[in-house]
Symmetry: C2
Subunit: 134 residues, 2 copies
DNA sequence: CTTGACCTTCCCATCATGGGAAGGTCTAGA
DNA sequence: TCTAGACCTTCCCATGATGGGAAGGTCAAG
């Protein structure tokens, strides 16, 4: 299976055919070669790219970050410094997001802790939302 | 200031005028009364609602969840059990999301830890993305 | 009466992804 | 050789919450 249609490439790369077309449309992938009938043709090399993208998406990198990572990956004269920089930035962003969510979780748990959760209507959670100070 | 235009209500409620119109359009808020000229008119009561929504959004509740919370808030025959249930569900979701992000963060930090971050091109981060197993 | 700050509706964009329609292509089997 | 059905193509629309901005109407102060 040296040459593939988009469906096979999608299955092999772990992404949907829909997304492959999208990645091509936004210039993340270079336009695929076409058969005379207009079908996109992919090779093993392309599947490699797709897997890279999938893995980067799984790690939460944005498309723009992946664009940079792909550029570095394909650039033999890259420095690992640059790559690590991108990764560290992303870790920072993840930490930030985790802290935010934990803060929210704390606030909500605090309200819930004081709520009886019984048949009566009195509810510190609703009161807390209604106060809306902060 | 017993009657307000949307701008004042927005400022008082801590949300944008744009969002007030949106909340009305999706039925989260009941349609505002209008002046003969078509301007929306708000009162203190409405600002109270806006604050509630803002606070719930800050705590990460979705619009649909807020729809339910508002319903409970305005229902004198609610049970705090129901409210607490919603809150606990949301806490669960937050925990889930936090765990996900921490897992991602771990994986990325693991790759970065082995990356020299120097002038050479060799980079375990790129290698890790390229493997794309998992 | 004019100016400028407000308001109205409507459309478009974000980000990554999927759904689905309308229509063309390919392949295996009768 | 014909046909069914599994592919492929492009194009448009939707998500969720939010903002930007255009075109045009309203209002209050000077």
């Amino acid at each position: 299976m040296e040459e593939m249609n988009i469906g096979q490439a999608a299955a092999a790369g772990g992404v949907s055919a829909k997304m492959i077309r999208h990645y091509e449309a936004i210039g993340l992938l270079s336009p695929a070669r076409r058969t005379p009938a207009g079908y996109r043709v992919y090779r093993h090399h392309d599947v490699h790219n797709l897997r890279f993208i999938r893995q980067a998406r799984r790690l939460g990198f944005s498309i723009e970050q992946i664009r940079q990572l792909l550029g570095l990956w394909q650039n033999q004269r890259r420095t690992s410094r640059k790559v690590k920089e991108l990764a560290m930035q992303h870790i920072e962003a993840l930490d930030e997001r985790i802290r935010e969510l934990q803060k929210i979780r704390q606030a909500l748990a605090h309200l819930a802790r004081h709520c009886q959760g019984d048949e009566r209507p009195d509810c510190p959670i609703l009161d807390g939302l209604a106060k809306g100070d902060v």
